[in-house]
């Protein structure tokens, strides 16, 4: 009888330990910082409008399966660019989300773009304090720096563009930009449809000047 009680006690303790281990994993996950997949940006889901909360849930469940959420929460892109990006992700081999879920993810990203990111965006420097070329202005307006870095400033999702003017010829840069403009690149979102030939030329002119690594 006493042995039976002891076993029951041990079982309870074991179950508690096991559950606590699972619970501990869940609790710790809120604060974990990845060595590679850093999740530093925190979204307070309770502060989101009710209709966006469910979209955020889909975004978190689907995108967080393969990479840290910072990968999606950090870059700033236009609605058209996010549409392209979500479609691209939907076509990945193991991204199991349907059109309705893709729409929910896009809804959240657009909401996040219009609210959190617009608040956090640095204000444009005064034209008097910072002289930039038309190509650089276009580069920044399109949010290219969300994914690409120049001189260490910018995102890391795409390759650094420091020294691109030295690594590639003008023709190669022009070919790449035209391919992106035409939506033929599988890894880059297309430029807006309203982009003019002059803007493309300005962008190429700017990239050609980036000769410092």
């Amino acid at each position: 009888m006493q042995t039976s009680k002891l076993l029951r006690l041990l079982n309870s303790f074991a179950l508690a330990s096991f559950l606590s281990a699972f619970g501990a994993a869940s609790a710790h996950s809120q604060y974990r910082v990845f060595t590679q997949n850093r999740d530093n940006i925190k979204i307070d889901a309770s502060a989101l409008p009710a209709n966006v909360q469910s979209d955020y849930q889909v975004f978190r469940d689907k995108c967080n399966q393969c990479h840290g959420l910072d990968t999606s929460l950090k870059p700033s892109m236009s609605s058209a660019q996010w549409t392209f990006e979500v479609k691209r992700m939907q076509n990945m081999a193991s991204s199991h989300f349907n059109d309705a879920e893709a729409k929910a993810i896009l809804n959240f990203l657009n909401y996040d773009e219009a609210h959190r990111k617009s608040i956090n965006k640095p204000t444009a420097p005064s034209p008097l304090s910072r002289v930039t070329s038309p190509g650089q202005q276009f580069y920044e307006a399109q949010g290219c720096d969300s994914c690409h870095a120049i001189g260490g400033n910018g995102g890391s999702a795409g390759p650094s563009l420091s020294g691109v003017g030295k690594r590639l010829s003008r023709e190669q840069i022009a070919q790449t930009v035209q391919s992106i403009r035409a939506g033929k690149s599988s890894s880059m979102p297309p430029l807006p449809a309203a982009t003019t030939d002059q803007q493309v030329k300005d962008l190429i002119d700017y990239l050609v000047t980036l000769s410092v690594d």
Binding site: A14, S17, A25, T35, Q36, Q65, G68, N91, A93
Partner: protein, 434 residues
């Protein structure tokens, strides 16, 4: 058949062990990831359901010579493999995983007719493997080496994979050729046909030694060629591969001494993946190996044949139904001078993996192996049954630390002497992928 009561104490101990270890090892600030996850800045779950079982992306990643399959938009011209971005720069840390380890508690009780029951239990390092894999920078050559320090709780350093390959073609029509030492059945074909599963032991058809001592769990040296066709959006994949090897002994050990005859293996598989995560595989194996006859003294040179069909269907990305059937037909010799006969076996398994949520899965498997030696030396058709259940839980969001508890019950008679035996096995373990 009267089932014996298994003591609760080992279960209690293993639960406590897993609980304490889980709390102790859970990192607060950072966590390590194996080589490919580090290199691509992805989580383990990008390529695995729960490590080490590969998902669709992981399968394709491997078949494309360790290139991540890029998104293919409808109508898009597929890129050449050599044109795909390689991710982060090559570095030692991005190409080496120095400690993929599994340790835990296991308890086993075995009974056999004519012998006293035996029980064993141990806290031990079940496995410790080191991987070195990736591709040569600016080329389409890839390499894969696996050094197993501990296998099955025994320290026995073994280079189970050491090969180099070349992948060519485009994302949608690719091919590879690999030479060197490769595991016979680690990751060929769909998930149901792989030696890896969410449970501690593989299905019997992969792990069981036949009377000819042949097991699939071996790593011969040879040449492997493969072709992969992928539809846009990866909804359908057709793949085929063939392997010719200068084989090991039938039990997987290396042929160290002089052998009067060559040992050769031929392996082919045809695979079709349809819809996400589901697929079907046909496997054919033929080998000729020196072997010991039933008397344990005479050497003979049997042909060993295996044909199998395997399939899995993933329902709503939640419930994975898996099953496999394998037919064995080996030459058999009872003793010197005895008439040649055959060892014939039919083995099937059915399994269900239920992914309750990401990183948490409950699994169950039923396995039945029917074995017979034909002719005068045979003792009739005998069956072995194996039930296994288990729970897997990833303890980190990246999926690189996994706790598992599993129980299996095996019962049956072997085909040479018709001796009945039972085996109960409990294992609670933690695996780490650094």
């Amino acid at each position: 058949m009267q089932r014996e009561r298994i003591s609760w104490i080992p279960l209690v101990v293993c639960f406590v062990f897993v609980g304490i270890c889980s709390v102790l090892v859970l990192p607060r600030k950072s966590e390590a990831l194996p080589q490919f996850a580090r290199r691509y800045n992805l989580k383990c779950t990008a390529c695995h359901t729960i490590v080490p079982v590969l998902n669709e992306q992981g399968e394709l990643f491997q078949r494309l010579g360790y290139h991540l399959p890029p998104a293919l938009l409808p109508g898009e011209v597929p890129k050449k493999l050599s044109a795909l971005p390689e991710g982060a720069d090559w570095s030692l840390t991005n190409n080496v995983a120095v400690a993929v380890a599994d340790f835990g508690y296991s308890a086993e009780r075995t009974t056999q007719e004519g012998a006293a029951p035996s029980s064993t239990s141990a806290f031990q390092v079940n496995s410790w493997n080191n991987y070195f894999a990736g591709w040569l920078p600016d080329t389409s050559f890839f390499y894969h080496a696996e050094l197993d320090i501990v296998t099955g709780g025994t320290t026995n350093p073994d280079l189970s994979n050491a090969c180099i390959g070349y992948a060519g073609g485009t994302v949608r029509n690719s091919w590879y050729i690999v030479g060197g030492r490769e595991h016979l059945q680690v990751a060929q074909g769909t998930r149901a046909s792989q030696i890896y599963s969410l449970l501690p032991n593989s299905p019997l058809l992969f792990e069981n030694s036949s009377p000819t001592n042949f097991v699939f769990d071996q790593s011969p040296v040879g040449l492997n060629v493969g072709y992969t066709w992928i539809s846009s959006s990866y909804k359908r994949v057709f793949a085929a591969s063939a392997k010719v090897t200068n084989g090991d002994n039938a039990d997987g050990s290396e042929i160290l001494g002089p052998s009067a005859r060559n040992s050769k293996d031929f392996w082919a598989d045809i695979d079709f993946w349809y819809a996400p995560e589901s697929g079907i595989t046909f496997v054919d194996y033929y080998g000729k190996k020196d072997n010991l006859a039933g008397d344990g003294i005479t050497t003979f040179h049997p042909a060993i044949r295996r044909q199998g069909i395997f399939g899995n269907y993933m329902l709503k990305n939640k419930v994975d139904f898996l099953g496999g059937y394998m037919h064995s037909n080996d030459d058999w010799l009872a003793a010197a001078g005895a008439p040649p006969s055959k060892f014939v076996a039919n083995d099937y398994y059915v399994a269900v993996d239920y992914y309750i949520k990401q990183g948490l899965a409950v699994s169950g498997r039923y396995d039945e192996l029917r074995q017979e030696i034909t002719g005068a030396s045979g003792v009739g058709l005998h069956s072995t049954h194996d039930w296994t259940v288990g729970v897997n839980r990833a303890l980190t969001p990246s999926g690189n630390v996994i706790a598992r508890v599993a129980y299996s019950y095996l019962s049956g008679r072997e085909p040479v002497g018709a001796v009945k035996s039972t085996d109960k096995f409990v294992q609670a373990d933690l695996s780490f992928n650094f």
